[in-house]
Amino acid sequence: MKNIIVCMKQVLDPEIPLSLFHIDTEAKQAIPPKAMPPVLSPFDENALEAALKIKDVQEATVTVISLGKKLNRVVVSSALAAGADQLVLLQDESFGDFNTYLTANAIAAAIKKLGQYDLILCGLQASDTNTGQVGIGIASILGIPCITAASKVELVDDKIKIEKALADGHEVIEAPSPVVVTATYEVGALREPGVEDFMSASKKPITIWNAGELGIETGNTNRFDLVKMYQPAHEGKCEILEGASSEEKAEKLALKLKEIKVI
């Protein structure tokens, strides 16, 4: 039986319409809109799919770890409905979206506390902070290798085989277990759970740990000072080409591109 751990972050929906997106410039963070619930970060869904693909072909337990100040239980439980076996929630007032160091430490501590792990999967990067550091951080803290941007992950005996897309091709990498692997969209979209999957998900175990139970330092851990956060102002200088019909406008557009010498 192999033990696979998948780290999944709950984020503000990255497809949020701009009209619903607002920044609290004092607190330097987004104000979550009431109309839109959070979602699981897209690349983290790919990471879970990579784990479930392994579970499709061999005996494996998939444990999902999620961390946050306050997690939306419905959102994180969707990972159980998709096929994960158990959920470990790391919840603490000190946890924030923008402290990579504390996040990686807390997750590494939780993984050590779980004890058994052959493979740790993360998304390439979270869609809110956009940094892609936590997976590498976990590997560094646990003293194991990390392979990033995987398009395919297989467990072969006690080795892990990873396909990684490169700018001009791909490579196949072999790593001993345990290893951290970060997944991209090329793994494939997370499978859609059926009605009965939601029923059985409600019976799966959920463990909740806070920073104290993880035995980690939470005071003054951030490496950064956030100076400001703002919404970029677009120039709003779009020149709209007018015409009697769509066809006429399109012809004018072609001529304009020729005139400004971009074609």
Partner: protein, 330 residues
């Protein structure tokens, strides 16, 4: 604060030459080093790369650290992170600049965790704070809906910088600098991961990341066959076709054609956005494009706030006329 000083730039090498990102980072590094009154160092890692040291100097490096070893022919996270850490421990810089590339995305966080400091990813702007002399790093957050400016409390301050976000420095072949060769000192037994296979794929046509012209479609295209007209435009303009997330999810185009924070980042000269609303997640993927053109039937679509030129039109009527006109004039 420790006594770290100077700016260290990781210069990537592609096809036996300094990669464009290397000259961009040397440009940014020169500017920052001059402002701080400190030295600019470059680090070159690879196999048979001795000929490139003068080039790094010509682009502004005062010192060039070279780790030239057959085992470093191709990038791999373990050996490269080991030699990078070795160089950083020797140089003790105040600032390290890397590219937001497949290697920089690995090395920046790895170094940050190993050295107990922080890395800021996908930087679009770098300035020195006049009061504190710390590096102000600007990066997109929340899928590009917002930008954050932050400083790092510890040294070295590590920044991974977006491709084409910085101006390359001007090459001056008369510049003088110091070259320092450093032994890789890699113990192959200590490497845990192994590359079994490396395949270079020659994509038919022009690669999205390299394309000078990108023609992108959104949900409004409605079908795989709709994208054929975009292909035709791309063919005429020697460009490539991209898409927002919905066409990829619907399998009208391949996943690898997705542009945006969760897909590919492109910086073409011309971006033609067809029937796409302009969600920030997507717009962040082509932010630094020179000329953005929008074709959308909704005059309120966000893409018109981003575009330089636009037509409010149904793409089904507009594209055939656009293609016919292009054939006449190019």
């Amino acid at each position: 604060m420790s006594e770290n000083t100077g700016v260290l730039v990781h210069c990537e090498i592609t096809g036996g030459k300094l990669a464009p990102i290397a000259t961009e980072l040397l440009g940014a590094g020169s500017r920052l080093a001059t402002e701080l009154g400190q030295e600019l160092s470059a680090v070159l890692i690879g196999n048979d790369i001795g000929g490139l040291t003068q080039e790094a100097i010509a682009y502004g490096a005062n010192k060039v650290y070279v780790i030239d070893d057959p085992s470093l022919q191709y990038y791999a996270i373990e050996p490269y992170s080991m030699v990078m850490e070795k160089i950083v421990q020797q140089v003790l810089p105040s600032i390290i600049l890397l590219g937001q590339t497949s290697s920089g995305r690995d090395l920046a966080p790895w170094l940050a965790f190993r050295l107990n400091t922080g890395a800021t990813m996908d930087c679009m702007a770098l300035e020195i704070d006049p009061a504190s002399k710390r590096l102000l790093m600007t990066r997109p957050v929340y899928g590009g809906n917002a930008q954050a400016v932050q400083t790092c409390r510890t040294n070295p301050q590590i920044a991974a910088v977006r491709i084409k976000a910085m101006s390359p420095s001007v090459k001056d072949d008369t510049r003088q600098g110091q070259v320092l060769n450093v032994e890789a000192g890699l113990d192959s037994a200590s490497l845990k991961t192994r590359v079994l296979e490396r395949k270079v794929e020659t994509t038919a046509g022009i690669k999205l990341e390299d394309a000078r012209v990108v023609v992108a479609g959104g949900r409004g295209i409605g079908s795989a066959s709709g994208f054929q007209q975009l292909e035709e435009i791309a063919g005429l303009l020697h460009g490539a076709v991209g898409a927002t997330r919905p066409p990829c999810d619907a399998k009208w185009v391949s996943d690898s054609q997705q542009i945006g924070i969760t897909g590919k980042i492109v910086s073409p000269d011309l971006y033609i956005a067809v029937a796409l609303s302009g969600a920030s997640q997507h717009v962040s993927g082509f932010f630094s494009t020179k000329v953005i053109v929008a074709i959308n039937k909704d005059p309120e679509a966000n893409i018109f706030k981003v575009a330089h030129y636009g037509i409010v039109a149904d793409w089904k009527a507009a594209l055939p006329a656009f293609i016919a006109k292009l054939k006449q004039i190019i």
